[in-house]
């Protein structure tokens, strides 16, 4: 297996960051951790990730969207997974309603937190294939 792909993980919740990192490391990925949108932006200056996994609500309600937008602008080929804990709780539907919004957000997939290890593995494999 050639699996030294670099994955950027951004979450302001240290436990979620640990959770996702543990799953990725167990599968042999190289993990770049960033705690929050600001650290995420800094990390993007020095690394080109093969994939990014972002929390949605960090410093701001839309931190994940903003970061995703930046990644897609800098590295259009990098797949992005957005994680959210709010979707089912508030009934707020974050799935893009218009193609304009979809283009702007442009995340490859939106997953509920906490993400199940097997689900995360499958999505990563699919997106990196």
């Amino acid at each position: 297996m050639t699996m030294s792909k670099k994955i950027l993980v951004v979450d302001d919740d240290i436990d979620q960051l640990d959770h996702v990192s543990l799953i990725l490391k167990a599968d042999g990925y190289e993990v770049i951790r960033a705690q929050g949108q600001m650290e995420g932006e800094e990390a993007l200056l020095s690394t080109i990730p093969d994939m990014a996994i972002l929390d949605l609500m960090m410093e701001n309600m839309d931190s994940g969207f903003v970061l995703c937008h930046q990644i897609k602008k800098l590295y259009p080929g990098t797949p992005v997974i957005l994680l959210t804990a709010v979707k089912s709780a508030t009934g707020v539907d974050f799935s893009p309603k218009t193609s304009g919004a979809a283009n702007w957000i442009n995340a490859d997939i939106l997953l509920d937190k906490p993400v199940r290890p097997e689900q995360l593995r499958n999505e990563i494999k699919r997106l990196l294939a």
Binding site: H19, Q35, G36, V86, A89, T90, K113
Partner: protein, 389 residues
Amino acid sequence: MNETLHLLVVDDELGMRVSVERALRHYSTHLPEIQHDVDFRVSQAESGEAALALIETDVPDIILLDYKLPGISGLDVLQTLKERKLDVLVVMITAYASLETAVQATKTGAFDFLAKPFTPEELRATVHKTTKHCIVQRQAAKLAEERRQIRFEFLSVLAHELKSPLAAVEGNLFILRDHLVGDTIGAYDHLVNRSLIRLEGMKKLIFDLLDLTRIESGQKKRSLAAVDVCAIARQSIETHGALAAEKHVTVFFDGDQAAQLNADAGEIEIIFNNLVSNAVKYNKDGGSVAISVRDQGQVIVIAVKDTGIGMAPEEVARLFGEFTRIKNAKTMNILGSGLGLSILKRLSHLYGGQVQVESVPDEGSTFTVTLHKEPSLAATGNESAPIQV
């Protein structure tokens, strides 16, 4: 504020339409209660059909509607407006103001009546009354919408804050279930401890939320009695002893022994617990907390000074909002419900008091709470709209 309302006059008599337009052309009405000046743009329609056609493109704010029209009647127009749920106030103009038609028109949603013939003054008086109703009603609707919005945001953030610890614990359980870091049980100690810490944080949030809800709804049972403020302060310091020891924070206390307050002991305890736990939590390792209680005659002044991470002025400004926990690299791993200071502020208000903050980044913060001994004598400044949970 200045505003122009669109007024439509519907009458088959040209003379009537022209005289209404003339009477309102240079008329401006002042609503002192809400500091609003209103003038009018008048348009005309000679029949009910023409009026409905005009409404399609340009919805008026007020309609002066003749009862007797050549085609469809004024009541038909009124019925259509009602069905389409348009935000329009209708004043019926009629020469035959029978009780029966008045009742029918009111049922269909007419706001007022104007009997023909009327003088320009009578017209203006009616228009003034209608305008006032229109503006006040819209402002109330806007306020209700803002409240709804605030409540929605509060609940969204609350849901997020409650779901985050659950997600963390659940995530850790997934790791355990899949034996992701090996088969030695010790390898999972960290995950178990983190899970316990997150559950503790969640418990605290739920308790804080209950406190806040009870204070907000006024349903918290208050039993007022003479309270020894220093005794409660010492008790609170003791409660936070373990937390302080863990961070090597030294707590100093200096109080006027006679300081007494006619208060609910539970509320004063919540005030101290919030102050002391913040001063310890946001302190530096090896720092100190100085707590003082001063009896200044009319008021008791509680000051809690820490040597912690402090805050920038813009952070202080945001401090008392619900869930506006200051998020930066220094606070990232400190657990908090985001409701503590909200509770502190609301409780202080119950005692006609206030909370002040002075803070310097990296040097520390001082929270000063002033409580009136006779809260009823103090002006209770309740500036914010209550948030109902």
